[in-house]
């Protein structure tokens, strides 16, 4: 009798411990619909300027042309501004002025702004300060968070083809608004890297490695089905050409693009980059063949069909 009782207690304790220790699978949060559409089509705005055009002005025009930051940010909302900072090389990261402008816009609309990132190629805090984003963000009153300091949480990926679940950070999981701020860059493995691939910075390093070991492009698409940015502000003031995401040639484009559809803005900006490279005589890629853009479109993250987009272009010079 006592043996059975002892066994029951041990089993009960083991059960409790197992329940406490096993990784909790958090449900995928409902994906918010694109707040920037026109007649059911995704809006993509392009603001072009000159070398001396104020960067903040370009960002404001690009976002206002979509409908304004108010469509997604209201008083009390937690806004995560996610810049693409792979290493401490400033060329791979968006211009700090772009990040600061986005943060400022979100603050004006009443949001609490957190600039967050998990750098894949170096210490996040160090990289954020080396590229100038940490100080620029703090100056406009945003909090800077190095995501790797947080404990990863497991999240479902119901529509994933290669991923059934993915680990992200509490800051990302719990935020109300996610704004992606990448730079227009080439990439040796995926041809280009903009908003969709920028989302790799919201998962821990071991998760990034898993993507590479599994199927990088498909994993990027799967990730964006559950962690889709509500707004993308793409820094194309200077674009990285020939190769990337580090070591390429920076070419001045003086452009800022914005959209609520990351697939659309990736497609449009990739096209621009391809045209630019062809103009400069650099051996380029084929936009139609960019796997992660096509995979994301196939999963319904957004549209890569130019006929399903409304492109609003504004020349600020």
């Amino acid at each position: 009798m006592e043996a059975l009782g002892g066994l029951a207690i041990v089993a009960g304790a083991a059960g409790v411990l197992w329940e406490m220790w096993r990784p909790k699978l958090n449900p995928a949060k409902p994906v918010r619909a694109n707040a920037y559409t026109q007649d059911g089509k995704s809006l993509v705005s392009i603001a072009e300027g000159k070398p001396d055009t104020d960067v903040e002005t370009m960002v404001r025009h690009a976002v206002d042309a979509l409908g304004g930051i108010g469509n997604i940010v209201s008083t009390g909302k937690t806004v995560v501004v996610k810049p693409a900072v792979l290493t401490s090389d400033p060329g791979c990261a968006p211009d700090p002025r772009v990040v600061a402008a986005v943060a400022k816009l979100a603050k004006e609309a009443g949001g609490t702004v957190i600039v967050a990132e998990s750098s894949g190629g170096g210490d996040t805090r160090y990289c954020l300060s080396q590229v100038g984003i940490a100080s620029a963000a703090e100056k406009v009153g945003a909090e800077v968070r190095a995501l790797p300091l947080e404990e990863g949480i497991l999240m479902e990926v119901p529509k994933g083809v290669s991923l059934r679940d993915v680990r992200t950070f509490p800051t990302i999981y719990n935020c109300d608004v996610l704004i992606s701020v990448p730079r227009l860059k080439r990439h040796t493995a995926t041809a280009v890297t903009m908003s969709l691939k920028n989302m790799m910075g919201v998962v821990p390093d071991y998760e990034k490695r898993r993507f590479h070991s599994t199927d990088l492009s498909q994993c990027i698409a799967d990730l964006n089905t559950v962690l889709k940015p509500d707004l993308t502000v793409l820094d194309a003031t200077f674009a990285m050409t020939r190769t990337g995401p580090t070591g390429g040639d920076m070419v001045e484009m003086d452009t800022i693009m914005a959209s609520g559809d990351p697939v659309a803005v990736d497609k449009v900006s990739a096209q621009r980059l391809q045209e630019l490279e062809q103009q400069l005589g650099i051996s380029s890629f084929n936009v139609a063949d960019v796997r992660h853009i096509n995979a994301a479109a196939a999963l319904g993250v957004g549209t890569s069909d130019l006929s399903q987009m409304v492109i609003v272009q504004e020349n600020l010079s």
């Binding site: 190629g121 170096g122 210490d123 040796t188 493995a189 990034k208 590479h212 070991s213 199927d215």
Partner: protein, 200 residues
């Protein structure tokens, strides 16, 4: 205090025995100590083991945790001397948290690690096993190329596979640290390492 002569002889014999034991231990075959990847600024191996007092300072000041302590597999005489283990942390003397600082060499109290110019440093060379490389298996991965801070040490072929150029490699190990393959396709070896001269 007086010692009996017999006691004195016994002590002499014990001392000689101890010396003999030490000599025998020093003769135990172990991998050549030049194969150990030392922190940047390390002096020639011949002097390194004698200058290093195993104080642990370099281990404590390293901002990336790249320095680990050698164990018995590196030879008994090298136990607890510092070595660079990029799978634990990359050495960011070339780019990153220790750029142009070289904390280990700066703090080393005995001069086993000397402060040298960044351009003069070569910790070792990375060794690539293409049979473990994800890119060579057809996957989309060139992380080593993305993170390599040295221009020209890592290039990509037209079919998106990395190629390593050892003569340019500084041995920082950032690529080793970042390689997502399991097991990793990269290891850091001491081959080609440049050692500092010990200033007398």
């Amino acid at each position: 205090m007086r010692i009996a002569r017999r006691e004195f002889l016994k002590l002499l014999a014990e001392g000689a025995a101890a010396l003999a034991v030490f000599k025998l231990v020093s003769l135990i075959p172990s991998p050549p100590r030049t194969e150990i990847v030392r922190p940047p600024g390390a002096v020639e191996e011949e002097y390194f083991d004698r200058l290093c007092v195993r104080c642990g300072t370099c281990l404590e000041v390293c901002p990336t945790n790249a320095i680990v302590l050698a164990d018995f597999s590196d030879g008994i005489e090298a136990v607890s001397t510092p070595k660079i283990e990029p799978t634990v942390g990359p050495c960011e003397f070339f780019r990153g948290r220790c750029e142009d600082i070289m904390r280990c060499s700066r703090f080393c109290p005995t001069g086993a690690l000397q402060l040298v110019e960044r351009e003069e440093v070569k910790i070792g060379t990375v060794e690539f096993s293409s049979d473990r490389c994800l890119a060579y298996m057809g996957k989309e991965c060139v992380v080593c190329n993305e993170v390599c801070p040295v221009h020209g040490a890592n290039t990509i072929t037209s079919d998106l596979k990395p190629v390593f150029h050892g003569e340019k490699c500084v041995g920082c190990g950032i690529c080793v640290h970042s390689c997502p393959a399991q097991p990793k396709a990269l290891t850091l070896r001491s081959k080609g390492a440049k050692r500092a001269r010990w200033l007398r």
